[in-house]
Subunit: 285 residues, 6 copies
């Protein structure tokens, strides 16, 4: 067996040789922990009390809010800038230009928060109305993994739409790990969206989901082809308003549209469009 | 773009306007972190050494146990009282009455712990006997997510049965996030219960599960109708003793009963009762 | 109701009575937190910067690496020794023999790390090429749960193969909890392995998986029989090179082989072998 | 030797028997750590950056300041209320009255902070001008123990003057431990006060110290008589403006006055008044 | 200039060359932080609430006390054993004999605690009666550095008297650093002992101090000769009952005795015995 | 009374108005906590095991040492650069020049460490030989505040001599707070230096102290005049080889020299030179 020094040498050589999976030289790569930290602060900004036992009166709320906004802007701008510099490292874009763009985007995210809160209010209402077991708005917000997944998605999607690389994906994978719900930051999701139970749900990058859609655990809204050259195409389905999709159903393909008011049964496998008002169930022996 | 002060103002206005998703004024709402803290202490009370490297001799064990019981009673009574006050905020129930009831329930949970340990012992035995890969009781207790999910369920169910709001759900969603196993605190589950792998399992609020039942990953025991007005009905199936349900099976409906000794195959979709001793498999092409 | 002292007494009696689920007397049982700590250090050794924001120059990297290796060797040898002592507690193997074997195995794991890095490089390439949504190697390494699951598996499998008890399972359940991907440490997995989304994937103890295999969320590679007496048999399928298995498919049985280049469609249920180049899809109404 | 249980019993009996040194029953006693925490926050409010590396721009400073003020008011009001309740426990004063008074005093301390900062500015100037080794205002503020002692004294004295029990003494003993400078919160100290080196300095409860006074290490401004019945009398000396007292000098007595512009030499022992402009030195062989 | 590797090499060589100030090889040396940790636990055992905000009712107090006793016994026995092994490393005393002796001594310290509490009660009374500024027993216990110094001394002295090496000195230097009061663990101090202010007090190894003695800041009770060969002699003075020694006085020599009821004035230098009832003051110009 | 917002405004105005005691705008000011952190790392580099319970074998020691050196160089260079930029902010010196100089000085400090260790070895020997109560080298290193003060001084003095501003003073005030020993970083101190007890010792900026000098608590080596314009003069005494200075002695003046082998008695006041071999004692009534 090699001695310890030889083992360390072998590892160091391996860092040099395996291009592409060696982070040691990249200061500018965004730090996952900082991004998640900022994300938790954003959650607390949206629902004060979501992460910690805060006990604020009106007077203090203004300062606590401002302080939190400051902290988010500082951290998230830094990490976003790193993500941009890293992604653009072979172009001529200057690091100061990245900083300006990063800060502008983060500030516009803060500006968007009241609108995101408004949408989440509709999502929470959808959960309250759609789940007989739900007892109160507060229970939904505090304990429904589906709502946390949507909350994070609405933030990640905003950043993705504004051209920020890497950060949105770090956010979506964080909440994927926590809830088992995997929504790609690119997906467009309208109001009153409800995911029940949620474990195993996959929603692809180019999905478009309408208002008042309800989805159960294990549902996949995926692509048929996974050829790399199609990554700019719409590869994932469109779900129109007021559709319900039961557990384990799989709906695939960029031109597949599930029409308004349809119900897709559990474990259904669907690769073609369904007209509005469809009722599609497996026939089971 | 707005300046920072205007953004903070907009957020504060949003807190006022969006009724129901604003926690800032509610001191009395239970704190998720404290509940989870108490839950981890309960786990360590049930299996000393479960969460930390404890190294206790007989003498010390008494004091460590007493100290832990004290801490749990203090924290959990407080959080339970908050949950009750919050839930009953529009009634005339007094906060001191809530405290009395909360403390009584938490103490009765402590009193129940030896019985809960006894049941978990049967669950661990079921895992040891039911999984060829299981090597020892200790491996099962320390590393099987299914056992952790049942442990938490047996605690949460006791509180739910005693009328405690919110706290049981916070507990069950905690272990759902950790294991991907979603058991509603309302479900009644008998001894020798074994969930293998477990990711994606959903067990609904009004399920009744007998002795010696074995369930694999992705199994749903759910409701057919999710209409809000039925939330007091039995909406989820009954599983009798000695039933095995393989991965991905879906069993729905409050009047659906799977009879004693039945086997339900993988991915089976079942919305009607199965007689005792049934063997139900999908026919696959 | 009993008073507090009586409750504590009842718990203590319960610790004595319920043999097998009482850890209080076992100092030698490995500590989950220490094992996970060492695992995270191993991750950072494989991908510097994976867990923390490290900012190392060439000079410092050697010392930081050596320091990390030392820490891993110290902690993991200790926990491995405990696992061996515990498992062999009824044999005549001496605790010093356990230490020697534990240290030798941990050192050989360190020696294996460059090879593990090389394999993970192929896995990351497979993800980059196989997912149209993947933008860069770094995004894959930092945010794909599938890659983290394989990373941990390659470590756990090495230890399992070298006869270390308990520790590999603690590692695999840790990453199962984080990603929803449950790979038994016994499974043999070749290079260029890609798991997309991953939630609900189960790969059994005696699986053999070839090069360039791609697996989607909810896939089960399981056993038909779970009788305890068969735990030394090959109970799980063999997947040959260049096979793709879509979401929710279930492939069972130790003599089931999916031939080279086959494609198994979503939700397919397969308990017999498939010839090379097969295309197996469900027929859906 | 007793066994462990008997030892614990003996301790518990001792808690019951030794009246007056048993805190176990007193919830309302102020917590030293919380008081010191609030004190450190007050230091950072007075000199942003004093305790931590803060990096604030103008915008953020307002929120960070407001947030800090809120935190101080919350913690210090609570601890002050406890101190008052404890001190008044044998009177009929109500706990709600204590709260009101505590909050009012803490708020008036916040209101006084700009004035305290102004005085500390004069103290720092006195140090800068009085010590040839001092290179800059910043060095004085960051590293002179004398300045930290005065900072804490000016806060503690304000609370003492407003009738708050216990809290001022906890603060003054904290900085005594840190700097070796023991100033009783009751002492009245005017502007431009400079203590150099400081270890061993003692300034008694009823001292009155003028402007521009300079004191060296080991100086005692103490009482002659320490009879309990004189605790309402002025027992400690008066030091008029522009006096310098060198290391180790001892000045005692409530009617002892050191007149304006005097210089008291090292190790001098003085129990009678000195006229303005005195020069008092020991004669040394 | 050397490069980094050469610098590290030079340091490593220096570790080898400078015998006696290199700890790297000594596992068995007691750890300062653990000793101080145990000391703080002992303080909290003596005065519950001394170090933390504890809120215990009668029921819980028993368990918290037992738990604390256990923790102290475990940690302090370990560190004491290390100190003994280290000190006896050139003798034939076995490490297991050290363990037995260490444990026995630590247990007898626990057994002594009620007696130590009783003595500290007299010390606190002496402070309350002797300082006009003292308002209550609680203020004395919580904020008088003199009392903390005596508390630690009474523990350290017990261990020293029982032959424990190193540990008592680590304890006394800890409280010396905190209070500026330096009492050697060997000094024998009777009840009702009061040190006011205290900074700079030095009490030597072979001092004997009677009941009801009062000492002010800067008092030295020291040795005349510091020749190494006299380390077994009584080198420090004897102070009989009811003596008061004012600030800065220096009393030296092993045969120097200050007789009962004497008063020694500030800054007095005394190297000969004083008859009972003496009044010794400096004459000051 | 003002409301909270007005109070915050008043504080913010005060930050603007009181020039010179407002740190909020100065990012470049060195951070006290980082400097102390680096200092503690330096202590552990000099005496491995000084601050923590390290358990290193030969192999690991090299990496741990290298890692620690790296960390110190990174942190201390950064803080030193800040100190230089801040001090030179009104000159034309460039920040990059500061960085270069800072790094060079920190590296030369690392290079000097073996020599500093050698000197500390002589200091520890002096303590061991000079204090009858000292039992072993290890006891001296671990528990004598005098040795810690000299250790820090030898580091701070090296930096001071190399022209680094602010950092040396932050270091010396840290250890002053911990030990009550105040040595200005400018003082030149030769080998075999021993400070016993130490509380209240003050050693001025331009002191020169020879080999084998022994100093007791409360000794001042100070200046006569403290006029600012003399800050470049030698203002503090010279102590030649083999001098002993007993507790509380005061020696003042830049031209005062205590000749080789002299003994200065306790509480002596000396402002003129003493010939070699002098014996100077107070005459006490």
């Amino acid at each position: 067996m090699k001695n310890l020094d030889e083992m360390v040498d072998a590892l160091l050589r391996s860092y040099d040789e395996q291009g592409g999976i060696n982070f040691s030289e990249v200061n500018s790569f965004p730090n996952r922990q900082s991004v998640i930290c900022a994300l938790k602060d954003l959650q607390s900004l949206i629902f004060p009390g979501f992460n910690t036992a805060e006990d604020l009166e009106r007077d203090g709320l203004r300062y606590a809010t401002g302080e939190r906004v400051n902290r988010i802007v500082a951290i998230l701008t830094g990490e976003t800038q790193k993500a941009m510099i890293y992604t653009l490292r072979d172009t001529k874009v200057k690091s100061s230009a990245c900083f300006g763009l990063a800060e502008k985007t983060v500030l516009s995210l803060i500006e968007e928060l009241p609108e995101i809160r408004r949408k989440l209010h509709t999502d929470a209402l959808a959960a309250l109305n759609g789940d007989p077991a739900a007892r109160s708005m507060e229970e939904v917000i505090l304990s429904y993994p589906g709502l946390e997944a949507i909350l994070v998605h609405r933030i990640a999607h905003f950043l993705q739409k504004n051209g920020i690389p890497l950060i949105p994906r770090i956010m979506s994978e964080y909440v994927h790990g926590k809830t088992g719900i995997d929504i790609h930051p690119g997906a467009e999701i309208d109001e009153y969206f409800f995911i029940d139970h949620g474990t195993g749900v996959v929603i692809g990058e180019t999905c478009i989901i309408g208002r008042n859609v309800k989805i159960y655990q294990g549902v996949t809204l995926g692509a048929v082809s996974v050829k790399k050259e199609f990554h700019d195409h719409k590869r994932h389905p469109t779900i129109e308003d007021e559709v319900t999709i039961y557990a384990g159903a799989t709906i695939l393909g960029g031109s597949t549209t599930v029409g308004k008011g349809s119900i897709i049964g559990g474990n259904v496998w669907l690769t073609e469009s369904a007209a509005p008002g469809s009722r599609i169930y497996n026939t089971h022996g």
